[in-house]
């Protein structure tokens, strides 16, 4: 399915959960389409996020963000998320932030996916996060009557659409992250009513039969597949490519003035027509640094020379493709 068509199936006001982490495997090609289509009033669920949430904040698509963290890590704070969150939900263009710890949010998603009234955890006890959700009742601090031990009851979090980025999918929706580093992506897929998979490559089904132990999501859990080469840009897709530090730096730099940022966002993010045009506008695939230094490059991390030999030609321990 074309990215634009998959994004068009997300109605205004939907709850959309985004996979990846701040710097890794976020479904950016899909997020860009949501921004281009000027979605409104979205609730965005992103457990640990960065640029994906910031694009939806910048484009005015998000009304609420349910999250544990939004940041550009070493590159600084996420400027649009920050600006709109500081304005607050009552302000024009402002954002409501529903903050959870990582495990509290995972437990809410697990309660949803397992059809339980709540999932208990010790995580978050003692923090002010619990009080944020006392009125809505989404989290409740309770005491187990049998043992007297306190726990947090995490109630279900309904998700309309989950969007995750993977390495490979077949046309029917079988998908794999290979090597399988999926962080919390399975939690949002399990909880969601629908799942959209964005894949670096579309492959034949025989690839899954050949290595069934590598299948991450079977087709009955996947409702749409989009091909999106370099679709996580500017975040990384290990081991294919690293994050694009230049993009993060330019983005944060432009945000020093709202006028400059709006020009940057229009020209460099939502302006380009296709995903390929977008990549071209941002230096193309060459702008992505290699995750691992190739053989022959200096390996400053080695002691006594063992690192260079070990690093050479082992792209993260995966089989050659």
């Amino acid at each position: 399915m074309a990215l634009a068509d998959a994004a068009a199936s997300v109605p205004n006001g939907a709850t959309v959960a985004l996979g990846g982490l701040s710097m890794n495997s976020a479904p950016m090609a899909f997020v860009r389409e949501l921004a281009r289509q000027r979605k409104r009033d979205l609730t965005v669920v992103a457990i640990v996020a960065g640029m994906s949430v910031d694009w939806l904040a910048a484009a005015g698509c998000a009304a609420r963000v349910i999250t544990g963290l939004v940041s550009f890590e070493g590159f600084g704070l996420a400027p649009s998320f920050r600006r709109r969150a500081q304005a607050g939900p009552r302000a024009e263009g402002g954002l409501a932030v529903e903050e959870y710890s990582e495990h509290l949010l995972i437990c809410r998603l697990e309660a949803q996916s397992r059809k339980l009234p709540f999932v208990p955890t010790r995580a978050g006890l003692g923090t002010d996060v619990l009080a944020l959700h006392a009125d809505s009742g989404s989290l409740r601090q309770e005491v187990d009557p049998a043992t007297g031990k306190p726990y947090v009851a995490c109630t279900p979090l309904a998700v309309d659409v989950a969007v995750v980025h993977v390495h490979e999918a077949d046309a029917s929706g079988n998908a794999r992250v290979n090597p399988k580093l999926i962080w919390m992506d399975n939690e949002i897929v399990n909880a969601a009513e629908r799942t959209v998979v964005c894949a670096e490559r579309i492959v034949g089904s025989e690839a899954f039969v050949a290595e069934p132990h590598r299948t991450t999501y079977p087709r009955f859990m996947v409702d749409a597949v989009c091909e999106a080469p370099f679709g996580a840009f500017p975040t990384s897709c290990f081991p294919d490519y690293g994050h694009c530090g230049h993009f993060f730096e330019e983005y944060v730099d432009a945000a020093a003035s709202q006028e400059r940022f709006e020009a940057f966002f229009a020209e460099r993010v939502v302006g380009p027509e296709s995903w390929t045009d977008f990549l071209d506008a941002n230096g193309g695939p060459g702008a992505l640094i290699d995750i691992f230094p190739r053989a022959g490059r200096a390996d400053a991390g080695s002691i006594g020379g063992q690192g260079a030999a070990q690093g050479a030609g082992q792209a993260g321990g995966t089989e050659p493709r």
Binding site: L77, E99, E102, I106, G126, T127, S236, G301
Partner: protein, 287 residues
Amino acid sequence: MSVPGWEKSPPARDYSVDELMVAVLAGCFRPGDQVCNGMASFLPVSAIRLAKLTHAPDLVWLAGAVGLEPRPGPVPASTLEAPLWRNSLMYVEQCGDFWTMVLNGRFLSKFCVGAAQLDRFGNANNSVIGGDFHSPRVRLPGTAGMGDMGSIGKLLYYWNPDHSQRSLVRKVDFVSCAGYLSGGRQRSDLGLEGGPELVVTNLAVLDFHPDSKHMRLRSVHPGVSVEEVQSATGFELLLPDGGEVPQTPPPTQAQVDAIRTVIDPHGMRRREFRRMRQRAAGGPKAG
């Protein structure tokens, strides 16, 4: 694969405070410990690597909560990304597996936390500063894993590259990570084990009084006076028993060499100092 001769290395004469902080944090990790790191944790990652290269070669490190016992290159631009878990012996493939490991009290007992605000009872804030939670003066990244690690029995080691009245406050604006709450027995009464052990700043090393759980000065860095530390702190610090405040030992020459040439030749650890300055100033103007 330790740094040769690290045991007998003399104190360094030329070092910077980030290197001293890395050396102090490295000393928190003992042989047999297991530790994982979170994001933007350049000083802790440098410290973990330094410990492994010197006194604790068998320290178990779960890099970025993903790559177990990696042999990484230089500290990369993200401490939650692939270059950090290079040459791991196992990947923790999904967070569910990580939480199962970490919620089990037997594993991964130590965790380093960096936060914008820290209070006298070791509670940390990385969520909002000033104003109302829903329209704060400064929106920070968020609670993420620290909100979990503070509640599940881990020993917490705080680092703070900007020891000031802005960052060391009487009471945090928001408890993102549970320390000793209101002090005394409050944490243990809630059934929480573990808690803050140490605070390593650019001026001093601090710990917590065993009974009151109030922050206490343990040592001041070379060239820093007790008065300077006190005046840069937003509350009255306790002093060690006897009142004498020792000096933090400087890093050894071997430690400094390892940090500069092997562990972090690109100086990622210094990003944290820029980041904290940016935060303290209210961050980049976003319009």
